[in-house]
Each structure stands twice: as structure tokens, then as C-alpha cells.
């Protein structure tokens, strides 16, 4: 009976194989960006090169999948928010350095040039930053915070993401320690983030939700996400702190094991082109409200780019990543 049973099971499993054909696309992309899928459709239409899009969830979940794949990465390129994590992936041999000719061929603006990492671990494709999100239904215009230090006035009602779960949030934390000094930065956060229920959230969406449900009055959030909600009609607005905030690049990394470098280069050429840049802004979700890093490209209407940027010291950020993330978890995450 069991030989027959095994045969039946094998036939069933075989039928799955037949009905679920093996991926035959030219490229495999792992991403956690709203526009990535839309951009690949435009890319395929323009070039005929096909791309399988794998979107496991948040940036953290995507990076977790890459970490689990280890020395046998299944992607040709990865496209997520952040820059420091690419340094670690390069050190582990998961990705390879971006070839110098790619940087040379990309017409970056000043912000774009400033975001190119020294070790060429990643290719910046756009940017955003961290700002203060304010619930306009709860806070009058006269009482709006103006700086990170003002967040202490809203202690108990400040929502923030856990840097252990959010790449952009770690960029903010490292940037705050860079601009304010580590001890002063820690003191500032300890004065503001006194409600652990809302200071270790998993995503920007949850920060906005905490504001909309009334759990929080202000939040530390990615500015593109705030614009998306604000322009969709939600009662929130964006405030850039006077101290300045760290530019957060969306970056692309190339797998160390890719067999399709020419196709990857074609994709990079496309996203730097006017058509690619248009596709990256052709939507209403968070990441579409990007700050362009390509010369001559304007941001979406209503999106400010005149921001007091601070450039992150990527080496220091990567060097202290484990320690600072642990400190945040111990201090502000339940």
C-alpha cells in the first residue's frame, strides 16, 4: 500500500511542479520599496528584459530573508531603503561592489554624489529623510515642535520605529548621535520616548496609525510617508527639525553571485533615465514621494526638497550598529 501511496503523493507533488512553472525571468529583484514593482514593469516594457519581483515585506524582513540565504543568494539585485546595511553585506560577500563605470555613467545631482559610499557597496537611487510627524487635529499650529529637542514636550505621546526592525530608523538614530553627540542624543530620546507602547513600532505606517488613533500626538517618521498620508487627506503634517536630519538613500546592491550583470546594468541605466525617474514617482504610496538624486529631475508636486540635510558617517554608523540598536531595544522597546 505504501509504495502506491508514495506514488500517489509523488504524482500530486509532480502536478504542482507542472502547474507552477519555474521562474524564467531574466532578473530576480528583492525589494521593499513601493515603486520597485511599477518601475520593473516600465523597464520590461522599454527593454524587453523581464524581472521577477520578490517582496517579502518590510525592509527588515527582506534583509532577514537575504541573511537566511547566506552564501547562496537567489537575487540578482536588492533595492531597499538604507546604506549602512550594504556595507555589512559587502563585508560578508553577499553583494559585490558597484562597478566604477556605473557611478560614472549615472548623472547624479549634488545630493546624489554626496550619498555614494566610499566602498561602493551600494548605488543610491533616490532619497528621503526623517522628520517630525504631527497630528494637526491634536496640536495647534502655535504648539508645533521645531526641533528634535522639542519632542520632550510631548513625552508619552511620541511614536517612533524600532531601529532593530527598520533600516530608515537606524539611519535616524545614527544621524542624531552624529549631530548631537551620543550621550546628548541618548538623553534627548530618553526625555521624549517615555511610552514604550509606541516607541518601538515596526514600520512608518504604524507610526502614522498611532497618530491617527490618538495614541500619539507626534512621531519620528520617514518624510515620504508623512507626505503620502498628508496629501491623501489625513490630518498630519511634516516638520523638519532645525538641527537638520540625515539623508536616507534608497539603495541598490548587486548580488555577489549574479550571472546577469549586463541585465542589471541595463536596469540601472533605465532607473537613471527620465522614463525610469518618472516611473519612480508615478504613484501615491510612501516611497513615490522621493527626493530625486538625478540631475534635472524634480520631486512630486507638494513635496519639499529644501531640507537642512546632514550627511551620515556610514563607517561610524556601521561600526556601532549592534551596540546602538541594543541600547534602543533595552531603552524603548517592550
Amino acid at each position: 500500500m505504501f509504495n502506491r501511496s508514495i506514488l500517489v503523493l509523488t504524482a500530486l507533488l509532480g502536478s504542482v511542479a507542472l502547474t507552477a512553472p519555474v521562474s524564467a525571468a531574466d532578473l530576480v529583484m528583492y525589494d521593499a520599496l513601493d515603486f520597485a514593482s511599477h518601475v520593473t514593469e516600465a523597464f520590461t516594457k522599454a527593454t524587453g528584459v523581464t524581472v521577477d519581483v520578490v517582496e517579502p515585506g518590510s525592509t527588515g524582513e527582506t534583509l532577514g530573508k537575504i541573511a537566511a540565504e547566506g552564501d547562496n543568494p537567489q537575487f540578482d539585485f536588492v533595492w531597499v531603503d538604507g546604506s549602512a546595511v550594504f556595507e555589512r553585506m559587502l563585508a560578508d560577500g553577499v553583494i559585490q561592489p558597484i562597478p566604477a563605470e556605473i557611478y560614472a555613467a549615472t548623472k547624479y545631482n549634488a545630493l546624489g554624489k554626496s550619498l555614494i559610499p566610499a566602498d561602493h557597496a551600494s548605488l543610491p537611487t533616490s532619497a528621503s529623510t526623517t522628520a517630525i510627524e504631527v497630528n494637526t487635529a491634536k496640536i495647534a499650529a502655535a504648539d508645533m515642535p521645531k526641533s528634535w529637542a522639542d519632542l520632550a514636550k510631548f513625552a508619552g505621546f511620541v511614536a517612533a520605529k524600532d531601529p532593530n526592525l527598520s533600516g530608515p530608523s537606524y539611519q535616524f538614530l545614527a544621524g542624531l548621535f552624529q549631530t548631537n553627540g551620543v550621550d546628548a542624543g541618548k538623553a534627548l530620546l530618553q526625555a521624549a520616548l517615555t511610552n514604550k507602547a509606541i516607541s518601538g513600532l515596526a514600520s512608518g505606517g504604524k507610526v502614522t496609525k498611532a497618530l491617527l488613533t490618538g495614541d500619539a500626538k507626534v512621531g519620528i517618521n520617514q518624510d515620504s510617508g508623512i507626505y503620502a498620508k498628508m496629501l491623501a487627506g489625513e490630518p498630519v503634517t511634516v516638520v523638519y527639525p532645525t538641527e537638520g536630519s540625515v539623508a536616507l538613500p534608497a539603495s541598490l546592491g548587486i548580488s555577489a553571485k549574479t550571472q546577469h550583470m549586463d541585465a542589471v546594468k541595463k536596469f540601472i541605466d533605465f532607473i537613471a533615465s527620465p522614463e525610469g525617474q518618472a516611473a519612480m514617482q508615478d504613484g501615491d504610496d510612501t516611497d513615490y514621494y522621493l527626493i530625486p538624486v538625478i540631475e534635472g529631475v524634480a520631486a512630486k508636486k507638494g513635496r519639499t526638497t529644501d531640507i537642512p540635510f546632514v550627511l551620515l558617517d556610514g563607517v561610524a554608523a556601521a561600526a556601532h550598529e549592534t551596540e546602538w540598536k541594543q541600547w534602543y531595544k533595552d531603552s524603548f522597546v517592550q
Binding site: M1, I6, L12, G57, E61, N164, G214
Partner: protein, 599 residues
């Protein structure tokens, strides 16, 4: 009626065909080994090996190190886990929550099963589909609905029905037990309902003839006979709560009620993954479950009864006259809280543009639904993919579970106990742990990574992963049903020369067909919305429904997420509901018409 204890008062004891004596015993054991080995191997590859790769890292932290992998044994991750106040608190929270919900869900599920199976109820059409529909609703959507309702600025507060203190009280262990209970009572209702159906009416009839009143019959006869099912329900819901991720990452997180699964998720969602910590917490979680399962077995060694024989009679259905209305209202209250209210919230969110503007007239829109239904759109493509994956998963899981159950029932109580324990233990394995185990086995382990089928990154491995998560449920449902069959039925067929395949297809399968259909539909529905394995084994050719919905939720796109979930629930629910009606019409054990008895 024949009442047969597990030790076998009549018929051949389980496993007797493998112990004939002398040379025959040796060859019998050999045949038994050869026969069962492939099944155990399948079980090992599906669940055991992926789990081991994760758990092993709690004592071999450098096993999958990207730079210098090593087999060096180092138990420091376990010490680190136990030394962490966060982990210790999470253990206590998980135990506290699991124990509370194990009791409340069993009570609620038991009451619901008795009300719906043994009493004539008005408005039955509003009540009986509820357990299936609650199962159809994924935990993360139910959690979202309750958060939208109970948050300080949520829908109930906007309507003036909820004060801030009430809202604050909800976001704590009370609210978690409340939502978990409403979410898991169907599992209890299925288990207890299955046992109720198996009780038949013989014992009750005998007690009535002896002059016992209904209450006494229930307390002194039915309840003790249902005790194994009640214990199984409590353990299954306990295990389900411990392995839950949907509420752990929403209401529990918001309430500051850290549980083990969330700790594992945090350890596994970064680069680099803190795999030693994830492995250590997984090991602790599994140890907790297995301890409870073992304790349960020690407590009720003599408690299993076999009640279905060829002469069983259908149980009576009581008509309580006017008292049936309060009973119907009680069942309806459960239905409203568990299903209708959350569904109304999801429905409202589907047809509104923003949360902040609540139920203002100008806020209503059809755009979310249009987006979910547009042919060729990513949302509808995800829906088609998930329907295909869920269908294959259900067929394969129920098929394997049936074969395994029939084989184990013959293999003796020890093999049965091992697989039952393993199955219940497997329910507690968080999908996120199993999913990572699958990546490690099928993308990292030499010998597996190069297999053409199933292969990492393809739908085949996702379906295999789904099967691994569904198989324990199918086994619990089908093994319980097979376990109630009197051995005499199989023995009689064997003495008449029927082969094992004939006995499986013509004796066992018809008697447990309703349970097989139950397992099949249960798997279909759960697979449609299974999240962690979908996320980790997402095929390169596109997202299934859960990952797409969660991606929308992550961006706070509650409206489009609710719309896709609603469309998926209606589609899958329609298919499953149709099949279930057909199954009930033609497959009810003991015939269609139930006798009615007036009290």
C-alpha cells in the same frame, strides 16, 4: 452500541498484526519498518529537519555563519536567552495567555458546539457558518479590525460608544484573551463537535431509559466521555496561542505584552539575523508545548474511548420550545463578536478612503474594491495564485494525513502517541521559524539546495511549506476520527481478505470522510491567508495574497488591504462553503435526518 477502551475490549488490539511470534514476528517487524519508514521520512523532511536547522543554532551558533561556518557546540545563546529579562517576561506572558485562552476558548467552543449540534435553534443560518468564517478571517485582519474599533480614536470612539479608560483596558491581557478566544473558539468547536458527533445517542438513550434527567446525563455521561476532546481542545488552543504571530505583532505589541513569537520575529528580521537567539527562543517555545503534551498524556492514560462502531445511532437533537430563543441569542452573540462586528469594520474600511475621516459621507469610495478586482492587477493576480496554492495544499495535506492516520492506527499506541504529540507540537512551531528552516534546508544544505523539485524560490517549495504547516492540523482532525473507529471493523474486512488499500478506501475513508473533508477545507482556508511561510518562501513569480495584503498594511493602506482581503474571503469562503454544503448533504455519518426530542 459498543464501548471499547483503548486497550481493546473487543477486536484485535492495535498493532497486533505486527507481533505474530517467532520468525513471523521478525519478518512482520521488518515489513512494518519498511512500510512506515517512508512516512516517517516524509514527516521528518517536511517538519523535523527544517525545525532542527533552526533549533540547532541555539547550541551551534556559528552553523550558518556567512564567513566562517562551524559545528562548534556553544550553549551560550541559551544562557543569553534565559539571562534576558525580556525573554523571561515573554515566556511568562506566553504561558499566561496560552493557559487563559486554552480554558476560555474550550468553554466557548464547547458551548457553541453543543448549542449548534444538539439543540433546535432559530436563525441557524446566521450561526452555523460562523466557525468556518472566523477561520477564514486571518488573525492579522481580525486584529486590525479590533484595533480600528477599540483604539482611542477608533470607530467606536468616533461614535461615542467607547471611553478612553475602556480603550486602555482593552489593550492589555484582558483584550488579548478576549480577541484570542473569539478567534480560536472554532478550533475548539471543531474538536468538541467532532467528538459530540461520535458520541451517538446510545448512551444517552440508555441513561434516559434509566430515568436520568438531561442535566445529569450531560454531567455524568457526556462530559466524561468528551473529556479527551476537551483536553485536546485546551492543548490545541494553548499551542495555537503560543505560536500565534498575528495578534503578537498587533494588539500584544501595542499593549506592551511581549510574547515569544514576537521575540523570534525581531531576532530574525534584520541583517545579520540573530539566529542563535531565534533558535534559543524557538527551543524554549517548543519545550513548553511538549511539556504540556506530555503532562496531558500522563494525566489521562486511560481516558481514550472508541465509540463509533457499525451499530452506532445518531444523537438526539433537543427542541426546548421557547427556551430556544435565549439559546439562539447566546450563539448569535458569539457570532456577532467573533465575526460580524469585525467584518463590518473591514467592510467599512474597504469602502472608505481614510481612517481619520471616519464615516463622513465624503469619505466613502469604491476605488479600493475596483483596485482589488481589476483583471491583471497585482492584487487579482495574487488572489489567483493563492487559490491554486491553497487547493494543492489542501489535497496533498489531507491525503498524507489520511494515509498516515490509517497506518498509525494500526501501528500501536506508541507510534500514534509519538505522531500525535509531534503534530500538536508542530502546531506550536511559529510559521516564521519553520519558514526560516525551509530556507536553510532548501537553499543552504548540501544535497537539498540543488534538488530540482521542490526548489527554493519556486511555488513548489511554497506549497511544500504550506503542507508542513497544515499537516499537523489535518492529522489532529483525521487521527481523532480514525481513532474513534472500532478495530473490529478493520479486522472484519481483513479476515474477509481485503487488502490494506481496499480497507483504507472502502472501510476507513467512508467512515471518516466528513473529517477528511473538514481537514481539506480547513487547510484550504488557512492556506489562503497563511502569512509567515508565504513571506519567507515567496516565489519569484509573484506574491500570494497574504504577503500582498501585509505589504499594503505596512504602508498603512488599510483600505486596499481590507478590499483585497474581503474579495479573497468572499471567493475562498464561497468555494469552501459550497463544498461543505455538498459534504454535509451527502456524507453525514448515520444519515441526514436527525431525530428530535422534546424536553
Amino acid at each position: 452500541m459498543t464501548l471499547i477502551s483503548q486497550q481493546g475490549a473487543t477486536g484485535t488490539p492495535r498493532g497486533a498484526d505486527i507481533a505474530i511470534g517467532g520468525t513471523g514476528a521478525v519478518s512482520g517487524r521488518l515489513r512494518y519498518m519498511i512500510g512506515t519508514l517512508p512516512i516517517y521520512a516524509l514527516f521528518f523532511v517536511l517538519i523535523g529537519l527544517p525545525l532542527l536547522t533552526v533549533l540547532a543554532q541555539s547550541v551551534m551558533p556559528a552553523l550558518f555563519d556567512p564567513v566562517a561556518p562551524s559545528f562548534v557546540i556553544d550553549p551560550s545563546p541559551l544562557f543569553r536567552a534565559f539571562a534576558s529579562v525580556r525573554v523571561d517576561t515573554a515566556i511568562l506572558h506566553s504561558l499566561e495567555l496560552g493557559a487563559a485562552v486554552g480554558v476560555t476558548s474550550t468553554i466557548l467552543g464547547g458551548v457553541f458546539a453543543i448549542l449548534t449540534q444538539r439543540f433546535v435553534l432559530p436563525l441557524r443560518w446566521l450561526i452555523t457558518p460562523v466557525p468556518w468564517l472566523v477561520f477564514l478571517t486571518p488573525a492579522y485582519l481580525k486584529a486590525m479590525a479590533w484595533v480600528l474599533m477599540m483604539a482611542p480614536n477608533g470607530y467606536l470612539a468616533q461614535l461615542g460608544l467607547l471611553s478612553r479608560p475602556m480603550s486602555d483596558a482593552f489593550f492589555g491581557i484582558g483584550g488579548l484573551v478576549f480577541v484570542h478566544t473569539l478567534s480560536l473558539f472554532p478550533l475548539s468547536a471543531f474538536i468538541i463537535g467532532g467528538a459530540l458527533a461520535g458520541l451517538g445517542g446510545d448512551v444517552e438513550d440508555a441513561a434516559r431509559l434509566a430515568g436520568a434527567r438531561p442535566l445529569r446525563i450531560w454531567l455524568r455521561i457526556n462530559l466524561p466521555l468528551l473529556a479527551p476532546a476537551l483536553a485536546l481542545s485546551a492543548i490545541a488552543t494553548f499551542a495555537e496561542v503560543l505560536s500565534d504571530f498575528g495578534l503578537a505583532t498587533t494588539i500584544a505589541k501595542t499593549s506592551g505584552f511581549g510574547v515569544l513569537t514576537y521575540g523570534i520575529y525581531v531576532a530574525a528580521s534584520d541583517y545579520p539575523i540573530d539566529f542563535p537567539m531565534a533558535g534559543a527562543q524557538s527551543l524554549i517555545l517548543l519545550a513548553l508545548i511538549l511539556t504540556v503534551v506530555m503532562a496531558d498524556r500522563l494525566l489521562r492514560r486511560q481516558g481514550s474511548f472508541r465509540l463509533i462502531s457499525g451499530r452506532s445511532r445518531t444523537a438526539r437533537v433537543y427542541d426546548t420550545g421557547r427556551a430556544r430563543w435565549p439559546m439562539a441569542l447566546a450563539a448569535l452573540l458569539i457570532a456577532v463578536l467573533a465575526l460580524y462586528l469585525p467584518m463590518v469594520i473591514i467592510f467599512l474600511r474597504t469602502f472608505t478612503a481614510t481612517l481619520g475621516h471616519g464615516l463622513e459621507t465624503s469619505n466613502f469610495t469604491m476605488l479600493n474594491v475596483i483596485g482589488a478586482l481589476s483583471p491583471g492587477a497585482p492584487a487579482s493576480a495574487a488572489l489567483v495564485r493563492s487559490l491554486v496554492y491553497a487547493t494543492f495544499t489542501a489535497l496533498i495535506s489531507a491525503g498524507i494525513a489520511l494515509i498516515l492516520s490509517a497506518r498509525l492506527d494500526q501501528a500501536g499506541p506508541n507510534a500514534r502517541a509519538v505522531v500525535m504529540g509531534l503534530s500538536i507540537g508542530s502546531i506550536a512551531i511559529p510559521g516564521i521559524v519553520l519558514g526560516f528552516g525551509y530556507i536553510l534546508v532548501w537553499n543552504r544544505l548540501p544535497g537539498f539546495r540543488d534538488w530540482p523539485f521542490p526548489h527554493y524560490g519556486q511555488p513548489s517549495l511554497l506549497v511544500v511549506g504550506y503542507v508542513a504547516t497544515a499537516l499537523p492540523y489535518c492529522l489532529v482532525v483525521i487521527l481523532s476520527a480514525v481513532g474513534q473507529l472500532a478495530p473490529s471493523l478493520d479486522d472484519a474486512a481483513r479476515l474477509h481478505g481485503a487488502t490494506r488499500l481496499t480497507r483504507l478506501l472502502r472501510i476507513t475513508l467512508p467512515l471518516v470522510l466528513l473529517s477528511v473533508v473538514t481537514a481539506l477545507l480547513l487547510t484550504f482556508i488557512r492556506t489562503m491567508f497563511e502569512l509567515p511561510v508565504s513571506q519567507l518562501l515567496i516565489p519569484q513569480n509573484g506574491s500570494p495574497v497574504p504577503t500582498y495584503v501585509v505589504r499594503l498594511l505596512k504602508n498603512d493602506d488599510d483600505g486596499p488591504a481590507s478590499a483585497l482581503a474581503l474579495v479573497a474571503m468572499v471567493t475562498a469562503g464561497g468555494l469552501a462553503g459550497g463544498l461543505w454544503r455538498v459534504a454535509q448533504r451527502f456524507l453525514t455519518f448515520g444519515g441526514r435526518a436527525a431525530k428530535r426530542t422534546s424536553l
